[in-house]
Amino acid sequence: MTEITLLTRDGVRLNVPCAPGQTVLAAAAAENLHLPAMCGCGNCGQCHAHVSTGGYEMGAYSPVALPDAAQGGVLLCRCMPHDDLVVELPYDDANISRRAIPEREAVIESITQAGAGAMMLALQLRPDETLGSGADFIPGQYMEFTVPGMEIKRAYSLANLPNWDGRLEFLIRLVPGGAFSTYLGTQATVGDALHLRGPMGHFKLDEASPRPRVLVGGGCGAAPLVSLLRHMAGYQEWQPEYLVFGVNREEEMLPQVLFDELRAGLPQLRIIQAVWHPSQGWGGFSGTAAEALDALLAEGMESPDVYLCGPPKMLGAARAVAGAHDVPTERIFIESLAG
């Protein structure tokens, strides 16, 4: 047995025993400390942390998910201590769930088109004896779906607001040939039961921050941003708010009713729709989401909080743009949709 010391960003120390061959993630879970993590196989990068002292061995992982392995970066789901470890976690104690991540059953209530190649999926949770019947999550979080008939799991961010009716809404971009995409595009029907785990994730609003908020999304990355904006609409904050949303082609743009709803709820929200390969008549921004962000920040504003959500390539570009405009790293909040 070795001992692991988990050190949260806000200075909380948690000690957990670890058996030989056990990962840090599993050891913590055995103590009912559920650290943010998702895929469990070294690919998603959600369980990224930093070891400051102690020796360990890393199981197989994707180098994309762990760019800083040489500097003590680890993926906790793959990290097996050799001796006592001190692990620095990049989040606060409040982000560590003390309850097991709930497993829920939900029934498909509706499936509607949401722009070319994307669907709005609405589910109704089945009441649970210990969890109740509400949809209790923090805007920005996601649920993990088991693809019906398969063992595999896929993550989808919630697009609606927490509610006591048990309703969950998702915006899903179909990936040709993809497992869940194929199910949703060809088989799924109203009334189907789905198995879900969640909510998970710590992509959320820094509510207390007075800075302008710039939300940037691309492709399949709309859902959590829509949820954050809907949440903000409930609180009528004073700071300037921007949504930059990019797609490849015009017909993939989110339905205009959605933008209208957001504008109605947040009078000060400015929406920039970016299309990478627009047609002749396109009246919005021509270029990628990152380029649109560049143009927006070049207009000049008080140093903002930047929320990024989308596929890794878009995130990399947008992060570089924000950095070039002197947005400090700790003011950039990122949700990567790499599965």
Binding site: R98, G132, S133, I138, L205, E237, W238
Partner: protein
């Protein structure tokens, strides 16, 4: 930011005060600076309101705004920056209206024009700091002004609680406006400020009397009541804070739905008011004092409603199911008016509730002045026969600091022949301990909330009358645990009424300089707490 208004303020070698990006309570720099500005504006409104009161044409809406706005700035009440931006804009409009009505232009805070964006406001904040003018006026003056301001906040909180129950008195609005106007004049004479502090103490006595009349007039006279402190199976709502009116509204919004309502913290005394006790679904009390709320709320299987202080940052585990009301606020947490309470019932139904009924445990509360004075003959008899040798009133707030064990030790070490009276949330440290009985009465009498100090004073005066002596000659010792600004108001009342030998702890206020502490000790007989057992011995020795 700079804030030193509460007991848990950051203390270093160089002095007391929360001066980094975030206070110990979680109040951030922006919110703290905006609170300072709002208070500065209230001083300006007070200048005009004072004038209008003197001319016999008060603006009732402005008086009411002052109470509410001051209340939002108490410790652990409102952390919502955006709400303060709104109130600053509103305060400017109210000032304009009063200026118009007064037909004159006053200087100082009355002339202050807030910037219309956040950056501008934050740039203005330094003029509004509690320490503004320190170099010229000196630390004693700044500290004493702070005592007046914080006392005033406490007075405003009590007056607001009374107002929501329909009890307002013009003298209160006038007194508060006068005090704000006094602070706006940046007084420098220590004796003048002390006199103002005592006047405020007297005003607070009136305010506590008003609140007592509001509470008993609306909900009946508190009576000794057994309160269940273990849960019963079923859907559940938890109501915390101090506001009886909000609790009643939650009870109304959840009745006949199979939902049980539990009180938390300082709402425990609600069970002793007949009209609230009459709700069959007011099921019991859950949890302890405010500082344990993060664990308690996370474990509670239903929604939580926060009606006043003390609020701590809501954890993700219960962020969606905690709601604020009245002066309370936290960024991103839903704020409810009385018309919005359906969501509380909806949340209670959707959440699991308690699966099982725990074995019943109860405590007895509700010894308000009528209950105690109703037993006055017994009490007096017991004192005369020597069965009761001494009374200790252990009252006030609780907090997380280790030094607060003093109060637990104190209550447990009180000898068998002394009676313990308690009020405020500090009592959670000992109110489930077995104190037994004395002279046929329970040896621990729970008088209620911190504002029930009024009840305690009425009891003390009645006893003094019965024994033909003054309150200071009674075998009674007051042990006050202070935490926030309502305690400052109560403290000033005790001083103003000439009550001596008040033991104050667990630490002395950070805004009191050594010179000010000397004044309190030498002139008013205030005693800083030392060791529980030594303090008890000293108290009993003095009385014997």
């Amino acid at each position: 930011m700079f804030c030193f208004q509460c007991e848990q303020t950051a203390r270093t070698d160089t002095g007391a005060g929360c001066a980094t990006a975030k206070g110990v309570c979680g109040k951030d720099e922006t919110t703290s600076d905006l609170q300072d500005l709002l208070i500065y504006q209230l001083k300006g409104i007070g200048q005009y309101a004072h004038l209008l009161h003197q001319q016999g044409r008060p603006d009732a809406a402005a008086d009411s705004f002052i109470l509410y706005a001051l209340f939002t700035t108490l410790t652990n009440v409102n952390f919502n920056r955006a709400r303060f931006q709104e109130m600053i804009a509103e305060a400017a409009r109210i000032r304009d209206r009063l200026q118009e009505a007064a037909g004159t232009r006053l200087a100082g805070p009355a002339a202050f024009q807030p910037a219309n964006d956040l950056t501008g406001l934050l740039a203005q904040a330094s003029i509004a700091s509690v320490r503004a003018g320190l170099d010229a006026a000196g630390a004693d003056v700044i500290g004493l002004r702070a005592l007046v301001l914080y006392g005033l906040k406490g007075v405003a909180a009590y007056a607001h609680h009374a107002e929501v129950l329909g009890q307002t008195r013009e003298a209160v609005g006038a007194g508060i406006a006068q005090a704000l106007s006094f602070l706006a004049s940046e007084p420098v004479d220590i004796e003048d400020i002390l006199e103002e502090a005592l006047a405020l103490g007297r005003l607070n006595f009136t305010v506590m009397e008003t609140l007592d009349a509001a509470n008993t007039g609306t909900y009946g006279t508190p009576a000794p009541t057994n309160v269940r402190i273990t849960p019963v199976a079923g859907k559940a709502v938890l109501v915390s804070g101090h506001d009886l009116r909000d609790l009643e509204a939650v009870l109304e919004a959840t009745k006949d739905m199979g939902i049980n309502v539990y009180t938390h913290g300082e709402l425990l005394p609600a069970h002793s008011y007949p009209k609230l006790h009459a709700y069959p679904h007011l099921a019991g009390n859950y949890g302890g004092a405010w500082q344990n709320q993060q664990q308690e709320f996370a474990a509670f299987p239903g929604p939580v409603v926060m009606t006043s202080n003390c609020l701590i940052e809501p954890l993700p585990a219960y962020r969606n199911r905690i709601f604020t009301m009245g002066p309370v606020g936290w960024p991103g947490i839903k704020h409810l008016g009385h018309g919005d309470l359906a969501i509380v019932a909806q949340a209670a139904k959707a959440l699991p509730g308690f699966a099982e009924t725990a074995p019943e445990k109860t405590i007895t509360i509700g010894f308000g002045r009528d209950a105690v004075l109703g037993a006055a003959e017994t009490v007096i008899g017991a004192v005369k026969s020597g069965a009761i040798k001494h009374f200790f009133l252990i009252g006030g707030c609780d907090g997380a600091a280790p030094g607060r064990n003093y109060y637990t030790e104190f209550a447990d070490a009180v000898p068998e022949d002394a009676m313990v009276l308690t009020l405020g949330c500090g009592k959670y440290r000992f109110n489930t301990h077995d104190f037994g009985t004395i002279g046929g009465l329970p040896r621990l009498l729970d008088l209620g909330q911190c504002n029930d100090t009024y009840s305690a004073l009425v009891i003390a005066q009645a006893l003094a009358g019965a024994f033909g002596c003054g309150v200071n000659e009674l075998p009674l010792s007051l042990v006050v645990s202070w935490f926030e600004q309502k305690a400052a108001a109560v403290f000033l009342t005790l001083l103003a009424l000439g009550v001596r030998n008040v033991r104050l702890g667990p630490t002395l206020p950070g805004f009191l300089t050594p010179a000010l502490v000397d004044v309190l000790v030498n002139r008013f007989g205030v005693l800083p707490v030392t060791e529980a057992k030594a303090d008890i011995a000293a108290a009993m020795g003095r009385a014997a």
